[in-house]
Amino acid sequence: MAPRIVQNFRGGRAVIFAPDGGIIDVLDTTLHKLGISVERQRIPEGQSIVAMPALHVETDIIFVDGDLDVTACLNGHLTVLRSVPIIGLVGIETPGRLKALMNLGASALLRKPVHSGAIYTALFLGINAFMARRDLECRLEEHQRRRSRRRIVVKAIIILMQQGGLDDEEAYAQLRRDSMRARRSLEDYCEDYVNCRSTTTLDQSPTRIIAGP
């Protein structure tokens, strides 16, 4: 099921990687109106890496000024950055700066100077697009994990065909039914079955041939 749309951001925290200055001051004011606390991260000049505060996956949103070297500085934190929504602040509209924000994982952009009327829209898109993307990534990972274990399922089907005198469709249906009855994924169930740690409801004899090493 797709994640539900978030429309109220109360209790959130914005971590802003941008220089102080009027160009984004309106961001702080509007975020407070939306119930979001603001934490500005200092960016020491000439530093190749910036400090990253502990991030809270459920509440944090990161704003990154794409005009600075901060995108490069943040590259060292890519893994942790993947866990929270990122909104890019765009001044210089060049492919290089936009690509840097995209590579960080920005799911929405705010044009500088920041306009108060655009912030709710950027948050709405940034957070919900991030959640949708994370959901898709999780599903993809799950599908890949299941695909890599397909060989186990095939092995279990063959064993059941040999031992139960079933055709492949019947064997698959039987394994699926039994895995659901056991409230386990088909792959987990077949792995145990192949390793003789479980039996199907068709198995009559405890002397089933153990497959594999």
Binding site: M1, V6, R10, K33, G35, S116
Partner: protein
């Protein structure tokens, strides 16, 4: 335009931009009159400042709203009290930002906005629709039929109603929209009568709304339905001058959520009602829209007087956090959002084009334009998401 020391009075021009012609002219007329009354009262009060109103009529055309705004601001006007529909407000805000003018917006609206160039003196959604939903569900039941004029006011109000009522286990049986000014209502009325909801929630505006009330009442009568009690119609935009437009046969029994009703019994409102009727004998009924304009003009006057200039930044500083004794009671501009603390009420219409106040908050309620404090974290689930089959 700073006040010179020793001058008795300084005059400032104030734009009043209302569509006093076009499909929602009745409401706009009230708003214009409320602002005019306030400016005249201040001009005659003997204070240090006075105001020359510059009245423009966009005629309900969105394009005209931008043009008229630009003309006003380019001519040196810094403050404009105006707009009724949200689409017109959205149309002019870029212009106010470009010329750094201040729009005093005197209408209830759907929220989700907080422009630095707007002062909002009308009700935010937590001050109009949320109290109404509670009242409707408690007294009539949880099944709504939503109708409205096809623009943002109705869309957002219906969204808020849908999410709130579904969270309470209720339902929205249907939503139907008409173009502003459209009067083809028969299909909509048939659909309502077929659905038999607990109540109808109407965000129709202008002539569409007035005709709907008449036709719906007639359709219910012909079927032996006691419309006000069996299928009441509730709205967040029904005011006294509009009741007069509906006509005596269908005027009674409608519910309106508003921060002001002309029947309020306090000395400030009695003076407002009397002065308004004397000043505008052709259209003597006060309304929430007239009062919101009146508040906007009075607050503008007080802020200019305090700031001793009409410079926008100084006026905003002067008006933020300022309390004002309005016809509805205490009103204050919230410094954080530049929306107003207002007192939610629910009225039931009766003959004579007035409302009986049947519910009211004890104190003014802080505005929550983004429903940060009053709304759910998540939107309503899509109607397509009923079952997820895992395999």
């Amino acid at each position: 335009m700073f006040l010179a020391v020793g001058m008795v009075k300084n005059r400032f021009r104030v734009g009043l931009m209302f569509s006093t012609t076009g499909p929602y002219s009745i409401v706009a007329d009230s708003m214009l009159n409320g602002a005019l009354l306030a400016l005249e009262e201040m001009n005659h009060s003997g204070g240090e400042v006075s105001f020359d109103p510059v009245v423009v009529d966009p005629g309900g055309s969105l394009q005209n709203y931008s043009l008229r705004s630009a003309e006003l601001l380019k001519s040196g006007v810094r403050h404009v009290i105006g707009c009724y529909t949200s689409s017109s407000r959205k149309e002019v805000i870029p212009c106010f930002e470009k010329y750094d003018g201040l729009l005093w917006y005197p209408s209830h609206y759907e929220g989700f906005e907080s422009s630095t160039n707007v002062i909002y003196t009308g009700a935010a959604p937590n001050q109009h629709i949320l109290p109404l939903i509670d009242h409707l569900v408690t007294n009539f039941g949880p099944h709504a039929f939503c109708i409205g004029s096809n623009y943002i006011w109705a869309w957002e109000n219906n969204r808020i109603l849908r999410e709130t009522i579904m969270a309470q286990g209720g339902s929205v049986l249907a939503e139907r929209y008409l173009a502003i000014g459209d009067t083809e209502l028969d299909q909509m009325i048939d659909a309502i009568l077929d659905a038999r909801p607990s109540f109808v929630f109407s965000s129709l505006i202008g002539v569409s709304a007035y005709l709907f009330f008449r036709k719906f009442r007639a359709a219910c009568l012909s079927r032996g339905i006691d419309q006000p009690n069996q299928i009441p119609v509730a709205s967040c935009n029904l005011s006294e001058p509009e009741l007069a437009e509906i006509g005596e046969d269908a005027v009674d029994g409608h519910l309106s959520s508003s921060v002001y009703f002309s029947s309020l019994q306090n000395s400030c409102n009695k003076a407002f009602v009397a002065n308004y009727a004397e000043r505008f004998p052709d259209r003597p009924l006060t309304s929430a829209d007239a009062e919101a304009s009146y508040i906007a003009a009075k607050l503008l006057g007080a802020a200019v007087s305090d700031a001793r200039t009409d410079e926008v930044g100084a006026v905003k500083v002067a008006v933020a956090g300022r309390w004002f004794e309005a016809p509805q009671g205490h009103v204050m501009i919230d410094p954080a959002t530049m929306h107003s603390y207002l007192t939610p009420r629910i009225g039931r219409s009766k003959r004579g084009a007035t409302f009986d106040v049947i519910m009211e908050e004890k104190t003014p309620i802080p505005p929550d334009p983004y429903l940060v404090r009053s709304g759910p974290r998540y939107g309503a689930p899509s109607s397509r998401e009923h079952l997820w089959v895992a395999s």
